[in-house]
Every structure is written in structure tokens, then in C-alpha cells.
Symmetry: C2
Subunit: 263 residues, 2 copies
């Protein structure tokens, strides 16, 4: 593999280029891209030309670069993210229809919460407040109800890895004491859901329930976000539990009550 003077391989440099694009900045000039990817302009130019040739990066009519449709196509066709999302989507629509709340599906990946899907009324007030819930965005595990549910049903080794930190304070109420988090995880396993106000966004409460797959292992988490302080949890929770049970069944979890199993 041809390595650059900095030791990066071609694949490593391509990943740095693609990683420079995000929701806040989905398109940019070549020099902007080189800067964000921390690559020399000549290197970026040469790689981008080839990525454009294969459709992995696209050039807008005004010369701005963006992630190519072909990359999405390659990624989506065989992806387990998409399989899970396709299975979950009808059930998420049911939740959305029943409770009209911002609803997300997420998994635990490389130590953070990765959002695979979200449904939201176009004028959702939460939409702007909560960037993390957007598709393909990540959030810290300890700072969302979704993350804490995923963690509660994960193997102890993974729990300890996350609890070893760093545990950033996302809001003033984000729980960063490993002992307090451990108590929450135990409570989540006992109750079968999490509904912890203010840890991700001050004014909102995420209600999160586990989705199980084959072998009754945790496969994903379904979350609806409700305004804090309202009595929305008792109304929203049964809708989420119902949908999560449906998704779990579709994923091949044991039938029977959706009650989570103690580890």
C-alpha cells in the first residue's frame, strides 16, 4: 500500500477526506476539503479527482464537492444498518402515528450511540435543539436515554469501558459519576426502559426501550423524546414498548412478553 510521508495509506487518506463532510457542512471547495482533512492540497486534488471518477465524491455545477451518491449506494446495499432500519421503519411509523413524537432508532457502535433512523414532524421544535438524533449522527452513550438502555443490556466489559470515561457533561444534568450510572443501568434492566430528563437536552426527556435480536441480545434502542415535566411518559411508553416488541419479533428474538432479561 502506498503510504504518504505522514504514514497514512491511500485508504486512510480517503477516509479522512470523506470524514470531512458532515451534516453541518455537506459541501465545500477543494481547498476547504483539503484543510478539513488535514491533507496537502496536491494530495487532496489527486485523490478527489479519482473519487469523482468513481462517483464517491460529486462536484456540484458550482464546483463545490460533496459525498457522492455512489458511495451511499455501495454502503446501503449490503449494510446491516439498512436491514435493521428497514425492518424497524413500519413499527416506528406506528409510534409516530400514535404519539406524534420525535422517534429514533439507534445502535451502540464503537463506544457511542449511532442513529440509524428518525421520524419527526417537519416542524418539530426539538429538531433544531437535538442535532445528535439525526441519521448517521453519534452521541455519547452516557448522555442519552438511548445510550443508557444500550449500555444496560451490553456485556459488563463494554459497560466498564464506557464508564472508565471520559464522561463529558453535555448538559448540567448529564450524569458523569460511574456509580450513579451503574445504579441507573440496574434500574433500566429492572424496569425495561429509561426515561431520564435533561441529560442530553435540558428541556426534554428521552424515553428509550430496548430492541432485541436473535438470542435475545440487544440489537437496537427505540426512543421517543417528550417535553420535560409534562406527564407524557405514561402515554408514550406503551407505544414504544409495543413497537419495540414488534421489531424484536421481526428480528428473531424469542416471542413472549417483551420483558427484558436480566443478565
Amino acid at each position: 500500500m502506498a503510504n504518504s510521508p505522514t504514514g497514512d495509506s491511500v485508504i486512510g487518506r480517503v477516509v479522512r477526506l470523506l470524514n470531512a463532510f458532515d451534516r453541518q457542512q455537506p459541501s465545500m471547495t477543494l481547498s476547504g476539503l483539503a484543510h478539513r482533512a488535514a491533507l496537502p492540497l496536491t494530495t487532496a486534488h489527486r485523490l478527489v479527482e479519482e473519487l469523482v471518477k468513481y462517483g464517491l465524491i460529486e462536484r456540484d455545477p458550482d464546483g463545490q464537492l460533496r459525498v457522492g451518491l455512489r458511495l451511499w449506494e455501495l454502503a446501503a446495499r449490503g449494510s446491516r444498518a439498512l436491514t435493521l432500519r428497514e425492518i424497524a421503519l413500519p413499527y416506528m411509523e406506528d409510534v409516530q402515528a400514535a404519539v406524534h413524537r420525535y422517534t429514533t432508532l439507534a445502535i451502540l457502535d464503537h463506544g457511542s450511540v449511532l442513529y440509524l433512523e428518525r421520524l419527526s414532524a417537519p416542524d418539530s421544535a426539538l429538531e433544531n435543539a437535538l442535532d445528535a438524533g439525526h441519521i448517521a449522527q453519534r452521541a455519547p452513550v452516557h448522555s442519552t436515554s438511548s445510550g443508557l438502555v444500550l449500555l444496560a443490556y451490553s456485556p459488563s466489559a463494554l459497560q466498564e469501558e464506557v464508564l472508565a470515561g471520559p464522561l463529558e457533561k453535555v448538559t448540567g444534568e448529564t450524569i458523569t459519576d460511574p456509580q450513579v450510572i451503574r445504579r441507573h443501568l440496574a434500574e433500566i434492566r429492572q424496569r425495561g426502559y429509561a426515561a431520564i430528563p435533561g441529560i442530553a437536552v435540558k428541556e426534554w426527556t428521552g424515553i428509550a426501550v430496548p430492541v432485541f435480536g436473535a438470542g435475545n441480545n440487544i440489537a437496537a434502542v427505540l426512543n421517543a423524546t417528550v417535553p420535560r415535566g409534562e406527564t407524557n411518559v405514561p402515554f408514550t411508553l406503551p407505544a414504544l414498548l409495543t413497537a419495540a416488541h414488534g421489531i424484536s419479533r421481526a428480528l428473531g428474538a424469542d416471542s413472549g412478553p417483551a420483558r427484558p432479561r436480566r443478565r
Copy 2:
């Protein structure tokens, strides 16, 4: 760029590897992957090791390889496919709720129909018959109502390129005579939709309506598929036109009637 003896660059070989995965075969062994990508096993091994390191390819516990979640994440974050899909999804749900039909959103890309989203009842009989309508799958332009709508509102040069063929017969009723297709395109522009039975799957009719974006250019096509011979078109078409109008408005097309403009 380090080229192989066959002239492929690293990026070219990576694309060949990723392209080997699809919906029918989302996971495979290293030797299976090397074979499908037409790469020497040693080359495939070296590249796959590095792709796994970056999460672009994942190795299942049983050693099978599949497209990595990280690739999906990189592709999804800045992608215009996802933006369009996110905007369209609520309107697609409205159609689904109203008419309970297999509903897809597609665009024209590199001379074929690329499906960005689909909604379907889990037990849809069509699901198995129509592989093309799955997310990130492609279909020939001339053999679907969606493709003909996309073509009808495309520039003449692109139309002629597609009509120059090859025009494969997907079913016995697929229209392959360029003159007949031209008449259909004129009729679609006049009517504002396509509903041509049997050209993609013998027993079904795709009903397709255009979605316009900024400058009232064609941006996508919305399609619902109904059993052929039933009187479903008059019932389904208004739901599609309504949703397509909403998506067009959200994409910044001129407000006013959703009537397509003659070129």
C-alpha cells in the same frame, strides 16, 4: 497513486471490493469476495485488512465479511440522497397511510433508476416479485413507470442517450421501440403522470408522478404499485399527486398547482 499490474488504482480496487456485496449476497468469505471482485486473493486480503481497520468492511464472528457500518455513516452524513429521502419520507408515509401500497422514491442517476426509499406493508406480495424497488437498487429507465417519468422531464440529450439503447425486454410487455417510448414521454408530460401496466412486473402497474425541485427541475419520482387490471389507478393517483406536490414545495419548487411544465 499506486496502480496494480491490471492498471487499477487502490481506489478502483476498493470500489470493486465494495461493489461485490449486494442485497442477494450481503456477506461472504474472503475468497468469495476476491472471486466476485476479480482480484488476486493476496491483493484482496491486504485491502480487506485495511478496510476492516477503518470499519469500511466488517468481519462477522463467523469470519464472513460484509459492508461496514462506518461506510454507511460516511456516506449518509453528507449525502443528497439522504436529504431528499428525509424530506420525502413524511409525505411517503401519508401516501402509505392513505392507499396502503408499495411506495418508492427514486432518482435518475448515471442512466438508470436508483431507488432511495420504499415503504411497504411487511407482507406485501409485491416485495418478492419486485427486487428493483428495494433501497439502493437500480432498474432500467425504460422498463418502469418511475423511469419513464424521470425521462419525460429530463433534457432531450439525456432522453436520446437512453433511447439509443440497449433497451432490454424485462417482461414481454416492456416497451423497447424508441418511437413508442417517445410517444409515452409526450403523454406523460401532458398528463403529469405515468401508469403503464406490466412493463416491469407482469401482474403489476406502477403509478409514477414527478417531484420537482428548485427551478422546477425534475428532482425525483414518487411511485405506488397496484395490482394490474384493478381500478386502483383513479384511487391511488390523487394521493401520489398530493404527496409529490408537498415534497416539491419542501424542495423549493414554485408553489402553485403541481402541474408539470412542458419543456
